[in-house]
């Protein structure tokens, strides 16, 4: 899976869960400024985990600030092809 594809999945999932248009957000955006609260973000993570069949432990989420950092974290969990 490519990085732009991962970004696209994040955009769609976050838009659905937070019920707002986040379809054009870029990797440089700070998550705290997207208008998603921590509960919704956890739900987004849960949804990504199921869609991509990965596991992202809570303690690794500590310190994640931008969309790009989160994408990197998810990408690292994917099996290397």
């Amino acid at each position: 899976m490519t990085r732009p594809e991962l970004l696209q999945i994040f955009r769609t999932t976050a838009s659905e869960i937070a019920e707002k248009d986040l379809k054009n957000i870029e990797e440089t955006r700070v998550i705290a400024e997207l208008g998603i609260d921590s509960l919704e973000l956890l739900e987004v993570i849960g949804s990504l985990e199921r869609d991509l069949n990965v596991r992202i432990p809570d303690d690794q989420l500590v310190g994640i600030q931008t969309v790009g950092q989160l994408i990197t974290l998810v990408a690292d969990k994917l099996p290397k092809s």
């Binding site: 707002k20 400024e33 609260d37 921590s38 956890l42 739900e43 809570d58 303690d59 500590v62 994640i64």
Partner: protein, 567 residues
């Protein structure tokens, strides 16, 4: 059945283990801890008791004496419960502290942990490898705070050699300290004795409450460092012998549907959650999620810990009716840590009872039934106090008020705790002659209690009373406003109270949001908003359970510390 002569958590656990072992049901009743990956650790009550005793001996080897306090920062529910019970058997007083949540500010957490450890005078802080880095940060800021012990290390040591006998634990001994993260900034440690715990558990699980049955299966994802999860689903279910399935809170956070799916899967009969969770479950359930879901076993779906919105309750009941959910299972409840847990419960298996009152008369503290459909407020009945407990509504001058008069809710009885640990001033302010001053406003209509909101958060504008939650719920309906991220309060401006709404939102939406919020408040409560502060997402102060802290928000606003978007 519940052993009736046991009067402490420790003796209840021992009797429970003995009666389970001696019965035909040996090994079949106990706690099922579900992990995030769906695997399960099962502890029959017999094993729970054995493990509690083994851990008590290990804790005693840390030179902990009866009455010493031990802080527990343990995220894993099974390890938390076993450590808590081990401490109780050793006569040591556990002090649960929430583990740090992801995405949350680090500094506030460091300060909260250090405050609780100091206020409790904890000798040891027991944590796990996974939380060690955060605890090390706490120590970096507060060197010498207390001894830190990592649970994995403690369990890996050879078992203590010398024969150790647990101390005698009496009903009047402290069972644990429940630190409350109310609306003020510094949590206070409520002193819960064994007597309080056993009295409250037998009240809310007894015939006038949930009315426990042998075949019950309780299901929860509630955090165990809070009273509703800890007492409702761990300590209470031990006292009253109820098999319980415990899911990690993050499991619900990552996938809210898992809550109801688990109930359906295990045939759950009892669950409890705050209002927001019922709203979220309703919103997240798509038609295909309902396929194969069966909620017909659920006989008690309790709701408490925050104001109950009747619309949320009705929508939940309607959404899940087709999969066997029975609306009368919804059981509104009212309580707080200072009363151990529960103060009132709605009747079991009775339809939701609401009261529609005249909003205009409520401003004068009178809950008069509304005549028309305009200008009304709808409140949910939280039911009545338990046998042996009393309730009254009291005026500012301390006089008992009559039916439908709004005043402070006071409660008295064996569930009422003795006060705050090491804080006689706060205790004296909250308790008199055995009466707990709850700090909540409410009224009685006949036998039923209706809760209006926090006394200190009441907004009084030109002599009229407004309850912030009514305004906040209205504002939350404005598009672009985040649920649970709105605070309404009043400040003095030129000698008059002026309404301030603070809501989290995006900088690009700030100007539109201000107009939309002011319009909504005018339409619904008829008030002119003095100021709408649209602030950065995540910047409103919250409690550990995610509730907005109104008084802190107000203090931050007055100090110019709210990060408002420029408009």
């Amino acid at each position: 059945m519940t052993p009736s002569d046991a009067d402490t958590l420790v003796s209840c656990l021992s009797q429970l283990a003995r009666s389970c072992a001696a019965s035909a049901a040996a090994g079949t009743r106990g706690f099922h801890f579900r992990a995030l990956d769906g695997s399960e650790r099962y502890y029959p009550f017999e094993a729970l008791e054995r493990e509690a005793h083994a851990r008590a001996a290990r804790l005693a080897s840390l030179d902990l004496q009866k009455g010493d306090r031990i802080a527990l920062v343990i995220g894993d529910p099974a390890e938390f419960v076993l450590s808590f019970l081990g401490a109780a058997v050793a006569g040591v007083v556990p002090v649960p502290i929430y583990p740090r949540a992801s995405f949350k500010a680090k500094n506030a957490y460091v300060e909260t942990v250090s405050h609780i450890v100091k206020a409790a005078g904890a000798k040891v802080l027991l944590t796990m490898e996974a939380s060690k880095p955060v605890i090390d940060e706490v120590l970096a800021h507060h060197p010498g705070l207390c001894r830190i012990v990592v649970l994995e290390d403690l369990l890996n040591q050879a078992p203590p050699q010398s024969q150790w006998t647990p101390p005698r634990v009496d009903a009047s001994d402290l069972c644990f300290l429940q630190f409350t993260s109310g609306s003020t900034s510094l949590p206070k440690g409520v002193m819960v004795t064994h007597r309080n715990l056993v009295a409250n558990a037998r009240a809310f699980l007894g015939p006038r409450g949930i009315d426990r049955r042998d075949e019950d299966i309780a299901v929860t994802w509630l955090p165990l460092y809070h009273d509703m999860g800890l007492i409702g689903f761990v300590l209470g279910t031990i006292v009253c012998n109820i098999t319980t399935v415990l899911m990690p809170t993050e499991a619900f956070g990552r996938r809210p549907n898992l809550w109801l799916e688990t109930i359906a899967k295990v045939g759950g009969t009892i669950t409890f959650a705050p209002n927001f969770a019922y709203g979220l479950a309703t919103k997240r359930a798509r038609d295909k999620d309902l396929e194969g879901l069966d909620l017909s076993t659920l006989r008690v779906a309790g709701c408490g810990a925050e104001p109950i919105n009747p619309r949320v309750m009705r929508e939940f009941a309607a959404r899940f009716a087709s999969v066997g959910f029975r609306a009368p299972a919804l059981m509104p409840a009212y309580g707080m840590a200072e009363s151990t847990l529960a103060i009132t419960f709605h009747d079991r298996d009775a339809p939701l009872l609401t009261d529609v009152v005249d909003a205009e008369r409520m401003k004068a503290g009178e809950a008069k039934p509304a005549s028309g459909s305009e200008g009304t407020l709808e409140l949910v009945s939280c039911g009545h106090p338990f046998p042996g407990h009393e309730l009254k509504i009291v005026s500012e001058q301390g006089q008992s008020l009559g039916d439908r008069q709004v005043g402070e809710i006071w409660s008295r009885g064996p569930s009422i705790t003795a006060g705050y640990y090491g804080n006689p001033e706060a205790s004296a302010a909250a308790y008199t002659d055995g009466w707990l001053h709850t700090g909540d406003l409410g009224y009685m209509s006949g036998e039923n209690l209706y809760v209006c909101g926090r006394l200190k958060d009441l907004i009084i504008i030109r002599g009229a009373n407004f309850y912030p939650q009514d305004i906040e719920w209205a504002v939350a309906e404005v598009e672009g406003v985040r649920r649970d991220n709105v605070v309404a309060f009043s400040v003095m401006r030129n000698g008059e109270e002026s309404l301030v709404i603070s809501a989290e939102g995006n900088s690009t939406d700030a100007a539109n949001l201000r107009t939309a919020i002011a319009t909504k408040v005018m339409e619904t409560v008829g008030l002119t908003v003095g100021h709408v502060a649209v602030v950065k997402v995540g910047s409103l102060p919250k409690t550990s359970s995610g509730k907005v802290q109104r008084r802190r928000t107000k203090a931050m606003f007055e100090a110019g510390e709210l990060e408002e978007h420029p408009v």
